[in-house]
Symmetry: C2
Subunit: 333 residues, 2 copies
Amino acid sequence: MAGSRAPTLSAIAGEAGVSVSAVSKVRNGGTDVAADTRARIARLLRQHGYQVASQTGFAVADLLIGCLDSPWSEELIRGAVEAAAEAEVSVIVTTVSSPAGFARWLDRASRRGTGGALCVLQLPGSQELQRLAAARIPLVVIDPPEEPGAAIRSVGTTNWQGGMQATRHLIELGHRRIGVIGTEAVWSGRARLAGYRAAMLEAGLDVDERMVRHDGLTAAGGRAQARRLLALPDAPTAIVAGNDSQAFGVLQALAERGLRAPLDVSVVGFDDVPVASWATPALTTIRQPLAAMAAAAFRMLSGDLAAVADEPHHLELATSLVIRDSTAPPRGR
Amino acid sequence: MAGSRAPTLSAIAGEAGVSVSAVSKVRNGGTDVAADTRARIARLLRQHGYQVASQTGFAVADLLIGCLDSPWSEELIRGAVEAAAEAEVSVIVTTVSSPAGFARWLDRASRRGTGGALCVLQLPGSQELQRLAAARIPLVVIDPPEEPGAAIRSVGTTNWQGGMQATRHLIELGHRRIGVIGTEAVWSGRARLAGYRAAMLEAGLDVDERMVRHDGLTAAGGRAQARRLLALPDAPTAIVAGNDSQAFGVLQALAERGLRAPLDVSVVGFDDVPVASWATPALTTIRQPLAAMAAAAFRMLSGDLAAVADEPHHLELATSLVIRDSTAPPRGR
DNA sequence: AGCCCGTTTCGAAAATTATTCGAATCTCAC
DNA sequence: GTGAGATTCGAATAATTTTCGAAACGGGCT
């Protein structure tokens, strides 16, 4: 019965046949203790209900997300949590949507301690970076909204190639009038749009600027811009969306007009969130390995701080085209 | 230049004009210190880079989720994180899918400390409950898979009423042949199916057992069972799904047969996950206030342990019918 | 082998921090 | 006013952490 409250360290020291100092050192991850001695003491400590600080690594890491309402986040969280679990680390999830919120988080984090922060789709300002550095909290940014400076480590995907893959896929199916919906607000969005332009150029197709629409990366944004595209006199036969949410919006706009994908208009999304395969029709999309990104970011965090100089500061994981049922050759081909 | 390393407590005691004992007591949330004295000392401690244990409450709470791949989890996480942030508490998210995983979590949690655990869709076994109690970790179960005993606090929704609301809505639209897909595997699933039966009974309609299908709460499960329902000689004109994922699967099965919702078959989901409104057609569904559930569960956790005896042990939040575009009167009415 | 020098491991002593406990003060009902 | 009980505080004591020197070890060199 482990009920009786923790015996003193000196009692344990006696039982282990070592000095109290040794026990204390083991208890909080100090150096100066041989491996076998440490193991023996640690076992006794644990037996008596003490916590033993793990000699290496950290206990918790923070995941900071702007907003938790896209299916996006879910997979990121999963990737981070699973990679962390392997390293016996717990992941704290926080939503941060303002500098004030960031300050509150930082306050809590430095109070309780953290092994580092993974920041999603947010680039802390220079003031915040300073405060992070002062608190000695390492940082890795996932899908940075701006091209990150050399001082910040980040993980992203090959957005430019992704935009290109999506567009090229449609061109290969025979589409010529291809609309695109995206956003200029974030770096990855600009890269995707640039990929679209590159693919069109590569195929010798002119980019009709009326076919290039910008809006938020939401279903509502996709719906609004798809309506405009479909109202054009020479409406596109295919639409590249800025992400899967927008693609869902495009499907809605099609349904409103009594059009069907892929018969009337082909649609390509971006992200491959789990629900993409549940859509009707199942969405052809560009897969971002979100879980792998989060895992990679976590490993960057835990990577030896000394080895940081060698490691790459920006890692880009590859996107891939996932062909499902929302794309087909244009009518009359 | 807060660089110079932490001065000793006695230095700070001098500066504050109190004894070292007082400073030590403030540093780790001890009693025996007047509020104003405590405030003065705490400010100095923080100024010198010490962490000050919050006198009341806890710093982190744990959210345990079986699997993170339904959009379900997302909203739960959001609810828990936001309720926790208000209380200056951080939320640790962990996926736990086996007793071994639970043990690993418990190990980590007791090592780093936690204010309590929110368990989603999982009811710890009695052995695990014992270990939780031994570690003095309070527990609240969200959407318990079995009727929880009186010893366990839990938060759920009015699943029986929800199943009834869904079915009644279809009956009111004029449907008579109504299929249902659900699961007997969890308590909430059984309650929803019972709600369906109750609504049919109430309306004086017989339940055709071929119309009652069981399968996993996934899009694949919904698709498989919808195919069977649609293949019946007298196929249903409306289908109640066990959750939104299953409803998506039903929509897929309809599309396969060239049928459209709600023209040919009406579909009702359950949960109202964010993507429900993105579907084509936007899904009529029973709303579970997932975020509110998580928030309520969190508040149960942080509720004064002394007051626990008075508090209810099982809280049920109300479901509500959200009518969108996937339901309509049956053909020919 | 014998010696030197740097490294590792350990515990005694010193420094620091936590807890106990009795005294001083305060509160409030009568 | 008075006394019972609660609150606040710090001196003394207990416990823990850190420092630092000594012992033990491991080669490289002569």
